[in-house]
Subunit: 437 residues, 2 copies
C-alpha cells in the first residue's frame, strides 16, 4: 500500500482544481473553512488509488464479468462482420447481371447461414439467408419479398439448375453487410476502464473472446454506529430509531458491484469500535462507518480514530457535510455522517464516482438536464443535493425538503438534483443537472 | 397454469388498443399485416400473467430483497421520525423563554441521541445532539455555532446546573424534525409492485420492518440457435460467426434480476432443439430462443414448434420484427430473432417492461426527452429503435445505422432511441424519447 495523503495537493481525476487548497494544519485551525466537493472527491481518489494495482485484477469468463471494469484496451482480433453477408432472406446477385428494369436469373444452390458458398457464376442468383456469407462475385441481395416467385423453391427443384427467378435491379451493396463495417480487426474494440454491461460483453463474445481481465470487486466493511439505533425487527425504546443506514448503504454498494461485510450496529463506545475494526478491517479493501463524525459531544467514530491518521472535516455540501477520511491501521477509511440521506449522498458523490473512475465500475451516473417543477433555495456556499422525481415532460418535482432524514421522500425519488455552490435560489423552470438513481 | 391466448383480444396493460386485432387464421393468411408493439407487449403480458400467482412469492430479509418487486402495500407501523428530534447539535429551548434579542439560560443535562430526556424546565436549555429526542416542553433548537460559548461544556460542569449559555431567539419549530413529518403511522409507505432498490429497502428498515414479501426471481432457459454460430474461444470456420446473443441476453437478463440457464448453441436441427426443450424446459418459468423465427428456408425454431401452440408473426418494429410467442409443452415460450441488436431490443421492448409491470421488477427504464444530434429516417409503418449516446447538453448522437448486427455501435451506446410508428423522418434538433441503458 502506498502512503496516503487524503488531503494532498494532487487533484487528478477532478475537473475543477481549487484556487486554494488548505494544508492539514490550516484545516484544523480554521475548521469552518469547508473543502469543496471536488477537493474531497480528489482526496477519496487518492486514498483509493491502490485499488487500481495490477495485483487486484482477475481473469473472468464473460458471464461472470458483468458489472466489472476492463483493465486494458481490447483490440479486435477479427473484423465484425467477419465477412460480407446478407442482411435479408433473398437472392445474392451480381448487380451488373440485371438491367435497370430487372430480369430473370438462373437459380443456384441456396446459401444457408454458416455455409462457405461457391463463387456466383454470371447470370445466376443464389438463394441466401440472413447472415449467410455472400458468394464471391455477388455484390447485392434482393429480398425474397421482391422476387417472383416470392418464396424459395423446394431444394430439389433448386439444385437441378433449371429453375429461374425474376428479380428487380439492385445497386451494388444493397442489403449487404460489408466485412468490418461494425469494427475492423486491429481497431480498439473497448478501451481500458470500460464498464462491462451486456452490450460490451456481447461485443467481446462476437469477437470470439471468451474471458476478460477485470478489476476485482471491492470489499467493504460497513459499520453503523450510534447509541440511538436499533436493528429492524426489535422493540423500539423511547428516543431510539431503527437503523436504516446499514440496509440503505449495503444495498446501494451491492447494487454498485461492491462486496459488503456488515458488522451490525456499534453503540457509542470508541473502544468497542476500535476492537471491531481491528478484528475485521484487515480482510477488506475499505472501511466505511456511518455516524459519529460531526461536532457533537458523543462522536464515537472521531474518538475511535484519535490515534489514527484520520481527518474529520466539513465538505461544502448539503446534506453530507461532515466527513471523515484517512486510514485505520493502514486500511483505507471513510466516515460518512449519520443521517440516511447524508449517507446515500456521500456514497453517490464520493465513493461511487471515484471507484468508477479508478476501476471502470460501477458505471457512472449519466448527468442529464431537467427543468425544475418548482422554485428552490440553497445555501450559497454549499453544493446542495436534493431528491426528486423526473417527469415524462422533462421537469423534475422535488421530493421532501432539504433535510437529510427524509427516507420516505428518498424512497419516492428517482433522481438526485444538483444545485452547485454559488447558487442561492432557482426559479421554477430553471435547468438543473440530475442523476438518475 | 391458465390457458394461454398470446394473440387474444385482451389488451390489459397497454395504453393503445388497436382498432382491429387479427385473429389467428387471418394472421396466417395476411402475413404482411404486422402486429403493433403495444399489441405484442400485451400478448407477452398475457403469456406471463401466471408468474404473478401467490405461489410465486417468498419472504426475504431486506438485504436479499434488492432488485425484487413488492407483492403487497406496506403500511407504516410507526411514524418517521418516531418522535420530534433535533436537526442540529445545539441547545433545546422553549422559544417563549427568550426575548427577541436573545438571552441567557441555565444549562441542563445534555440529551444524547438515543436518550429519553426529562422535560425541559422553564428558563433552561438542554444541550442536544443531532437526532436526539426533543425534551417535553422544548419547541426549538439553537445550533451550537450560534451559542456563547460555541462549544459544549464538559459534562461535569453541565451537571452542576450552575453553568449558563447565551442564546439568540428562535421561532417555534426551528431545527426541529416533527414526529411523522416524513411518513405517518398507518400511511401506505410503499405500494404493491414497487421496485425494491436501496432507498425503498432503507425505508423499510427505518420503519423497523426486517423482511418483505416479494415475487420470486423469474428463471429463463436461454437457447441460441443456428448452424452459423460458434462459441467464443473456438476456431471460426469460413462463413461462421461467434455467438454473441447468448452472452448479451444472459447478462441483460441477469442484470434485470432474472435467473438464466444457458443451454449452449443448438444447430439447425429441430429434433435436437425439441429434445433439449423437453429435457430442460420444465424446470424454468420461461423459454427464450434466439434465431430461427423468420421466413428463411432454415428456421429451426419455427420447425421445432410445428406441433405446439406457438405463433410466428411480424411486429411493426425495426429491428426485432420477427417474433415467436406461445407455449412449448405448456411452458411459456418467446422466440427472439437472431441478430444481436434485435435480441436486445426484443428483450427491452417486450420482456423487461412486461415483467416490470407484472412483478414490480426489473425497474422500468425511465423515458427521458432528448434532442436529435443529426437527422434520421425511419420506416413509417414501423416503430424504430435506434442506439445512441446521450450528451451532457441533452442531445443524442446516433451510433451506427439502423442495421441490427452492429454490436460495436451498441457497445458504444448508452440509450435506446424511439421513433414511433407513423414517423418517416426527423430533423436534427427534433425531440425524441430515449431510454437509458
Amino acid at each position: 500500500m502506498t502512503s496516503l495523503q487524503p488531503h494532498g495537493t494532487s487533484l487528478s481525476g477532478t475537473s475543477q482544481p481549487p484556487t486554494s487548497h488548505p494544508a492539514r494544519h490550516q484545516e484544523k485551525h480554521h475548521r469552518h473553512q469547508a473543502r469543496s466537493v471536488a477537493e474531497h472527491a480528489a482526496a477519496v481518489a487518492e486514498l483509493l488509488q491502490p485499488l487500481r494495482s495490477p495485483g487486484r485484477t482477475e481473469v473472468l469468463p464473460l458471464g461472470e464479468a458483468l458489472g466489472r471494469g476492463l483493465v486494458k484496451d481490447v483490440t479486435a482480433p477479427i473484423s465484425l462482420p467477419p465477412f460480407a453477408n446478407s442482411q435479408m432472406d433473398g437472392y445474392a446477385i451480381r448487380s451488373a447481371d440485371l438491367p435497370d428494369d430487372g430480369g430473370e436469373l438462373r437459380v443456384m444452390r441456396p446459401v444457408p447461414a454458416g455455409a462457405s458458398p461457391d463463387a456466383l457464376q454470371r447470370g445466376t442468383a443464389a438463394p441466401i439467408m440472413t447472415g449467410a456469407m455472400l458468394p464471391e462475385g455477388a455484390d447485392a441481395v434482393v429480398p425474397i419479398e421482391r422476387a417472383v416467385p416470392d418464396r424459395f423453391l423446394p431444394p430439389t427443384k433448386q439444385s437441378t439448375a433449371q429453375a429461374t427467378v425474376k428479380l428487380p435491379a439492385a445497386a451494388p451493396g444493397t442489403y449487404v453487410r460489408e466485412a468490418g463495417s461494425d469494427v475492423q480487426a486491429g481497431q480498439t474494440a473497448l478501451g481500458a476502464g470500460t464498464f462491462l454491461g451486456p452490450a460490451q460483453l456481447g461485443l467481446l463474445a462476437a469477437l470470439g473472446i471468451p474471458e476478460v481481465t477485470v478489476y476485482r470487486a471491492v470489499t467493504v466493511l460497513l459499520v453503523t454506529t450510534g447509541d440511538e439505533v436499533v436493528e429492524p425487527g426489535q422493540d423500539l425504546p423511547a428516543g431510539k430509531i431503527y437503523d436504516s443506514n446499514g440496509t440503505l448503504l449495503e444495498t446501494a454498494m451491492r447494487q454498485a458491484g461492491l462486496e459488503v461485510r456488515r458488522a451490525g450496529i456499534v453503540t457509542d463506545n470508541p473502544g468497542k469500535l476500535r476492537e471491531l475494526l481491528r478484528a475485521e478491517g484487515a480482510a477488506v479493501d475499505l472501511i466505511v462507518t456511518t455516524g459519529g463524525v460531526s461536532k457533537g459531544a458523543y462522536e464515537v467514530v472521531r474518538q475511535a480514530m484519535e490515534d489514527q491518521p484520520v481527518e474529520f472535516l466539513h465538505v461544502a455540501m448539503q446534506p453530507g457535510g461532515p466527513q471523515g477520511i484517512g486510514t485505520f491501521d493502514g486500511q483505507p477509511f471513510l466516515g460518512f455522517p449519520g443521517n440516511p440521506v447524508s449517507c446515500l449522498v456521500s456514497f453517490e458523490m464520493f465513493l461511487r464516482p471515484v471507484l468508477g473512475r479508478l476501476l471502470g465500475a460501477p458505471a457512472p451516473r449519466l448527468p442529464i438536464r431537467a427543468r425544475l417543477g418548482q422554485p428552490l433555495t440553497s445555501p450559497e456556499n454549499k453544493h446542495q443535493v436534493r431528491r426528486g422525481t423526473l417527469q415524462p415532460d422533462g421537469t423534475v418535482e422535488l421530493q421532501g425538503g432539504e433535510s437529510s432524514h427524509l427516507m420516505h421522500a428518498l424512497a419516492g425519488s428517482n433522481v438526485l438534483l444538483h444545485v452547485p455552490q454559488g447558487v442561492a435560489e432557482l426559479g421554477a423552470g430553471a435547468e438543473v443537472e440530475v442523476w438518475m438513481l
